[in-house]
Symmetry: C3
Subunit: 151 residues, 3 copies
Amino acid sequence: MSIDARLSELGLTLPEVPAPVASYVNCVRSGNLLHLSGGLPFDGETKVTGKVPTDQSVEAAQEAARMIILNRLAIVRQELGSLDHVARIVSLQGFVSSEPDFYDHPKVINGASDLLLEIFGARGKHSRIAVGVAALPLNASVEISLVVEAA
Amino acid sequence: MSIDARLSELGLTLPEVPAPVASYVNCVRSGNLLHLSGGLPFDGETKVTGKVPTDQSVEAAQEAARMIILNRLAIVRQELGSLDHVARIVSLQGFVSSEPDFYDHPKVINGASDLLLEIFGARGKHSRIAVGVAALPLNASVEISLVVEAA
Amino acid sequence: MSIDARLSELGLTLPEVPAPVASYVNCVRSGNLLHLSGGLPFDGETKVTGKVPTDQSVEAAQEAARMIILNRLAIVRQELGSLDHVARIVSLQGFVSSEPDFYDHPKVINGASDLLLEIFGARGKHSRIAVGVAALPLNASVEISLVVEAA
């Protein structure tokens, strides 16, 4: 099954490719690796902002992490022409805007990791860093970057 | 001398390969680079948790960083069959669960860096990022990821 | 125009290659990628320290980000012999020592990104992560690492 068919099966559609919020580009390819910029959980009027778990619950932050994967995959599709050309999700860096006494960052970032597995199966299994940071750009609740291997 | 012999000489043994705490894998190989997930200073009942330097001293956090290197190398050995197949430790990312007025993160992460030099010699010389973050998964005091080049 | 000529045109000079503040090296090359360590905004007596925006303004932190690019490029020049051998700035990781309610990290890191574009043109367009962290080594206001592709 193509990845586009799999997205449909999961009831998912990719958003418009987001514009970077500053002086950089969404993606740089070096060899067969795509290095994606950190993405934020913003889609049109929908913006998931504030600290976890005070301003946003773990569940809301998980959904934010899913949103970011969809906007990162929109970039990958634009870059490769088709998501079928993804050989492997190599690594994921997840940053959670975190209260100093919040320790469930893995659960938040699982929103992203689980979705990658659902979409790509074994090719979606990635290495990962998850940390809690003091604050994120534009008060985003989550920021995620990816390194993706092209076929 | 083999790296296993060097570990013995240093009186070190590698722990069991740790289970990832969430939906990801310990290591993804792309080309000749191993991308390791962020590791935590947990080994059976021993868990180094809390902020530096209030909950854990610099010395205790250095020891935590050493623990993580040992559990990361257990993963590398599993992946490559032998640590003798390590060509180079390319890069290390070190995150310290930090009070906002703590600035000795380099000393903490030296626990990891010094151990890599002791074990691998010149092959262990790596580039590095060290930062202090608001909080880490499961209240870990330190999280470290590696990129390793295989021979 | 050579990059050295471009630096002159911009009125820029690169500092001495900085000594790492701990047990690591400034740069590791793996294949055609240079992995640079995180750099700090320190140049001789000049040290930009403290949190943004309380201890340092956004503008001062932008200037700190520029300082780091210059000291990172000094390392790249040492490694490659000439900055003309830079094929692409692949990725940039920017960490800002951030108050928990500061959200303009992209503006700070633009100090680095804009300078890379000024110096390298299209080759300077990079992917990027920008986050706000609890504290940085030696109380630096900004830390930046790069991955650079050699020609």
